[in-house]
């Protein structure tokens, strides 16, 4: 599903954010990307999300070379990808239901179908009763659950989460992680960038470790945590 071959990303006037990274993530996998701040986790997600181009190397997404995707086709690639951010990125002036409906509106679904799916999604994250509230009136955990519902709204084949639990307390962290695991269990490939070691210990999943833009190791979480 995702293949990186010797990918390097450099920003002008800065050192390389990613250096010669080669990595493959298969369909249906659940992968933790970890490493200290500045390791290149977010940069890697941005490249996968077609938000920025790689400076060198090749990135294949869904079997297509990202560098060769026409700019006008990128939105359609993104419709197969759900994204969750640490800061939620919800629209404060739109209700919870309207936020979740965004990816469905983009896909030109009928209003009735949108309402049905939004109701279902909000029920799945336990927020059906908050549908008409505005995000600022919700707790951090609730906002992140809304963000997860939005990311999953269009049944993406790939879900990227950048520090999705960074702003949450332990209980809310578990709630959000359970939602991500649920999506993975239903077949969605999930890539979670985190520096929270407790998550790696709790969930025995594949862990890719980055440091200073280099891929340090790639293996299961038990080995990673005990070895580090």
């Amino acid at each position: 599903m995702i293949q990186l071959f010797h990918v390097t990303k450099e920003y002008p006037g800065d050192g390389p954010a990613l250096q010669d990274v080669t990595l493959e993530i298969d369909k249906g996998e659940f992968v933790f990307l970890t490493g200290p701040s500045g390791a290149g986790k977010s940069t890697l997600l941005k490249l996968i999300f077609c938000d920025e181009p790689a400076t060198s190397g090749q990135l294949l997404l869904f079997g297509k070379n990202v560098a060769k995707i026409r700019p006008s086709a990128i939105p359609f690639v993104r419709r197969n990808i759900g994204v969750v951010f640490q800061d939620f990125k919800l629209l404060p002036q739109r209700t919870v239901a309207e936020n979740v409906a965004l990816p469905l509106e983009v896909r030109d679904l009928a209003d009735k179908e949108i309402r049905r799916r939004v109701r279902m999604l909000l029920r799945s994250v336990g927020l059906e009763h908050r549908a008409d509230k505005f995000p600022p009136s919700l707790s951090g955990g609730e906002q992140q659950r809304v963000a997860v519902a939005r990311a999953l709204a269009a049944d993406p084949t790939l879900l990227l989460a950048d520090e999705p639990t960074g702003n949450l307390d332990p209980d809310r962290t578990l709630e959000v992680m359970e939602l991500l695991h649920g999506a993975n269990a239903r077949g969605t490939t999930v890539v979670v960038a985190t520096h929270d070691r407790s998550l790696l210990e709790r969930y025995k999943r594949r862990v890719v470790v980055l440091d200073h833009g280099r891929l340090l190791s790639d293996g299961d979480s038990v080995r990673r945590v005990s070895g580090s």
Binding site: I74, P75, F76, R78, V83, K89, L90, P103, V106, R150
Partner: protein
Amino acid sequence: MTAFRPVYFTRRALDAMLRGPYVAFVGTATIFVAVFATGLLAAALGGAERLLQGWAGEVQISVYLAPGADLEAAARASRALAPGRAVEAVPAATALRRLAETLGDEARVLEGVGPGALPDAVEVRAPGITLAGARELARVLRGVPGAAEVDYGNAWLEKLEAFVARAQVAAVVLFAALAVATAVLVSNTLRLAVFARRDEIEIMKLVGATSGFVSAPFLIEGVLQGLLGAGLAVLALLGLHALLVPRLQTAVALAGTLTLRDTLPLPLVLGLVLGGGSVGLLGSALSVARTLRRMHGT
């Protein structure tokens, strides 16, 4: 490809305007001022042109004769020089009587004034003639035997005609400059609206919205603000017409025939409203395209 969903995009545009009324107000106000200024200029020019035409409907050319000149011979010559026009020989005594009638109660100022105080004259009526035509006819009538002076109207009309001619040339340049300035101004104003909602644009892009999908509500918002601003400007111009024209009619007799069709004809009103909408669309398109270019992806 983004499916064009006018109802959905219009709903989003209206929603955005309601949620950000200040920015919508500034955009609408900018277009209001621009359309009002343009409309005022066009209405003033239209009114001035109508006044000139109105004068033409009443024009009378007077050929004043030198003392001792043959009035009948002058009248015959005038008929020959102005074929088809009504020509009247007015002896000095008749002219004095008419002047007394015109003065009414003030006629006593003419006490002691003899018939010789005014010259004999030939009056040529030329309804429907243009100012240029009147000027040419006056030049021809100067050839009447015994003619001392030819008068065809008031000097201010000459000045008005010259002003209108110059203003019409200036108006074309001014309209073009105003349209460009308004588009830039509106573009900058609407840029505020786009900038205020850059988070929304970013999130729309995150969930897979195409540039067309992101832009459409902004474009509709621009058109709505343009139509609203222009519509209000037209209403203000109508109000101004209702306020000023009656006062003008009491000050200038010729303005008595001035109607709404002269100052704000339907094509002008439609042009102003559609122009406002177009400027809103153009300004919005410029600002949203600029913002999207600056963002990552497309």
